[in-house]
Amino acid sequence: MNFTTTKPPVKYNQQRSLKRALNLNIALIVLAIASVILRALTPLAEDAAMTNLDIAFKAFLMMAVGVIVSVMVEVFYAISEGTIQKFEVYKRWIDPINTGLLIALLLPSTTPIYALVISVIVGVYAGKLVFGGYGYYIFNPVLVAVLFAHLTFGGQMDITGTPLLLMKEAVFGSSVELSLQSLLIGNYTAVAIGSTSVLLLFAVFVYLCVTKVIDLRISITYLLTIFLVSLGIGFINFTTQGMLIYTLVNMITGLTMFGAVFLVSESVSSPTSRETKIAYAVIVGILVMLIRVLSAEPEGVVFAILFGNLLTPFMNRTVKRSQTKGLIKTVVISIVAIVIVSGAIGFIVQSRIIENLNETAALFGGIL
């Protein structure tokens, strides 16, 4: 009797890449539908140009277009490469669908459809396919597309009056009125369709954690970093109550939670080992807060995570072994970095440092 042989090991556990991609797909579809429904149900300001249903329909249209264009780009690319037969199996369709849906969810509902189409083409082609497709890209293609849209069509999708922008003005003394209830159900001027109810996003977060699609360490560290940095900034600039409100707004509005669920722990473009995962999440979290507070942009998650992706190959190269010593070192350095950065941003926002520098410099003839 002769046998066919393979190389051991011959047993695998229950985890499968396909299963993870499918779970992500299910979560995304649920989130997309729920966000459209929420958008349609929530009451809007009276002077708005579009009614709720219009906005909801526009959001739905964007998602559909995003998915169709993303799939078409991949299929056309496969045809041109002569590898169309790989699309015979269903699992090849999941990733293009996820990408298209995520791009649509990350753009505001005011985006013109042509801008979306061009962004998806750029994101999928330049962000994913030129690197070799799923599993090989170094930048998250979703973020490449969104960055492209922001840089190119920034004028057409200008957003004003998001809670985060209001908070930025609040630092300089203007008063802000926000209701916690409407923030929780996502009833505010959002920077993207996907920035819906934080409760809904949290439910998706739990589902994806249980199914092990997302790495808990990255997401939790990222959220914790944003929490601590915003707490530090609030501590320096506001009273205790103001500090808490500032932190809350930073945590539950904008793309913070959406980023934690779908973007930060996207496995292909994030580092692979324990220490680097934590360092990566801390760097991204700090950058999010830096961009939010210091730049003119309403949201920093997209840029921050792209910068994190940029650092990923370098970070992967720095580790030699995952040791407890290294882990403790990483955590300590991260905490120190968070404290220093939150203090620094807090004072820069308050302009105290610059004033002091100017006063000191005045002694030398007012150079600054």
Binding site: M1, N2, F3, T4, T5, T6, K7, P8, P9, V10, K11, Y12, N13, Q15, R16, S17, L18, K19, R20, G133, Y134, G135, Y136, D215, S267, V268, S270, P271, T272, S273, R274, K277, N316, R317, V319, K320, R321, S322, Q323
Partner: protein, 406 residues
């Protein structure tokens, strides 16, 4: 799931390999047509200067020497003995009470307990290096994939305990750890608990369903540093309760190691069984006894641990002392997906190396990076492949990297 306990103790002929992986030179001690008794030395194999006796497991006539494949698929010399079914035993001394260390060592070597468990982390029974810790595994290989009723442990708990203590005496171990499974049946756990009370044996209850290299972690805790590939180098002897039971028989009853327990599993058999089988029996005989294969098409035969064993191309090998489990299943071609860089392999690795990064370095053929990543520390436990969601054979990549840098 193992449903039956069977015995197969009287094969027509036995085929005994006279060399092994470590000892490649052997001198034959018997000639053709010689009558041998059970326990008689038929050959001596040499590992360096040390001579290790190979003993006859049945009594009868030596038919000659033949080249056959062993469990690793290598062609080596086997002595063939025709069984006369009389089971004439060569007389050996028995010892009661306290036995001096040197006598236990000599008896174990003389009566065939040398290389009994081979898979995974198990070490040989050798005393040429100082040993401080003895670890004994009561969990059968391939748990939790096959489930055993541990009937033998229930029946022979006292003997096993005595055997463990004899082994501890032989290697002058300071600590003795017995590994048991949380999911063993309660009766076995109770019997073991009762037998080892008032001894120096410590019980370590582990969860075999978790599959996280817990034996390596226990070894690491014992010596307080990262163990090397061969635990003997770190002063740890790691073996199974089967060896402990055989040690009891060798010392107390003067019985040489002639039989062993082999689990025959897989969907190619109608029933799966735990066999008590004479060492040297051809695997074909066992298959015949079990009712043959259900399906002759595209089977694969896996010997030993599912994660770190090996596969053979033919069923013409004989049962050696170090074969504890044989699985014959339908061949399944697993389709590899692309690596999604989730880092699960990096998290599970018991030696704290980074298999994903090693695989990446191997793909790019960067020798320096492979050395830098401590690739030589890999113990080839196979857990990286086990957890891989893309079903990539990470272990094979790490092995390739190891071979590349020597």
């Amino acid at each position: 799931m193992i449903t039956e306990n069977k015995t197969y103790l009287d094969p027509r002929k036995v085929y005994l390999p006279i060399t092994d992986e470590d000892a490649r030179v052997a001198s034959l001690q018997v000639a053709e047509e010689d009558e041998v008794k059970v326990g008689q030395i038929i050959a001596k194999k040499y590992r360096g200067k040390e001579a290790i006796p190979v003993i006859a497991t049945v009594s009868g006539k030596v038919l000659g020497v033949e080249q056959r494949i062993d469990r690793f698929g290598k062609v080596i010399d086997h002595v063939i003995i025709e069984n006369d079914r009389k089971n004439t035993l060569e007389a050996f001394d028995t010892f009661d009470g306290e036995v001096p260390t040197q006598i236990i060592r000599n008896q174990l070597l003389r009566l065939g307990i040398h290389q009994v468990s081979l898979d995974g982390l198990y070490t040989d029974i050798r005393f040429d290096q100082p040993i401080e810790h003895l670890m004994v595994d009561a969990i059968y290989t391939n748990e939790p994939f096959i489930s055993l009723d541990y009937d033998c442990i229930v029946k022979e708990a006292e003997e096993i305990t005595d055997g463990i203590l004899l082994l501890a005496k032989a290697c002058k171990a300071k600590t003795v750890t017995l590994l048991v499974d949380k999911f063993m049946n309660q009766e076995a756990l109770d019997e073991i608990g009762k037998a080892i009370s008032d001894t120096i044996i410590e019980l370590e209850v582990i969860n075999s369903k978790k599959m996280n290299g817990v034996d390596y972690k226990i070894a690491r805790k014992l010596i307080n540093r990262r163990p090397s590939i061969n635990l003997l180098d770190d002063g740890i002897m790691f073996t199974t309760v089967f060896v402990a039971r055989s040690a009891y028989q060798v010392i107390r009853q003067g019985l040489p190691l002639t039989t062993r327990k082999v689990a025959l599993t897989g969907d190619a058999f109608v029933t799966n069984a735990l066999y008590d089988v004479r060492i040297g029996t051809l695997f074909e005989y066992l298959v015949e006894d079990l009712g043959g294969y259900t399906d002759e098409e595209a089977l694969s035969c896996h010997i030993g641990n599912f994660l770190s064993g090996n596969q053979v191309e033919s069923d013409a090998f004989s049962i050696a002392a170090h074969i504890d489990s044989i699985d014959v299943s339908r061949y399944r071609d697993v389709e590899e997906d692309v690596c999604i860089k989730c880092g699960d392999c990096n998290d599970i690795c018991p030696t704290d190396i980074l298999p994903q990064n090693i695989m990446d370095a191997e793909l790019r053929s960067v020798n320096e990076r492979i050395v830098e990543l401590h690739t030589d520390d890999c113990i080839e436990c196979g857990l990286c492949t086990y957890v891989c969601p893309s079903k990539i054979n990470v272990l094979e990549w790490v092995r390739r990297a190891k071979r590349r840098v020597g």
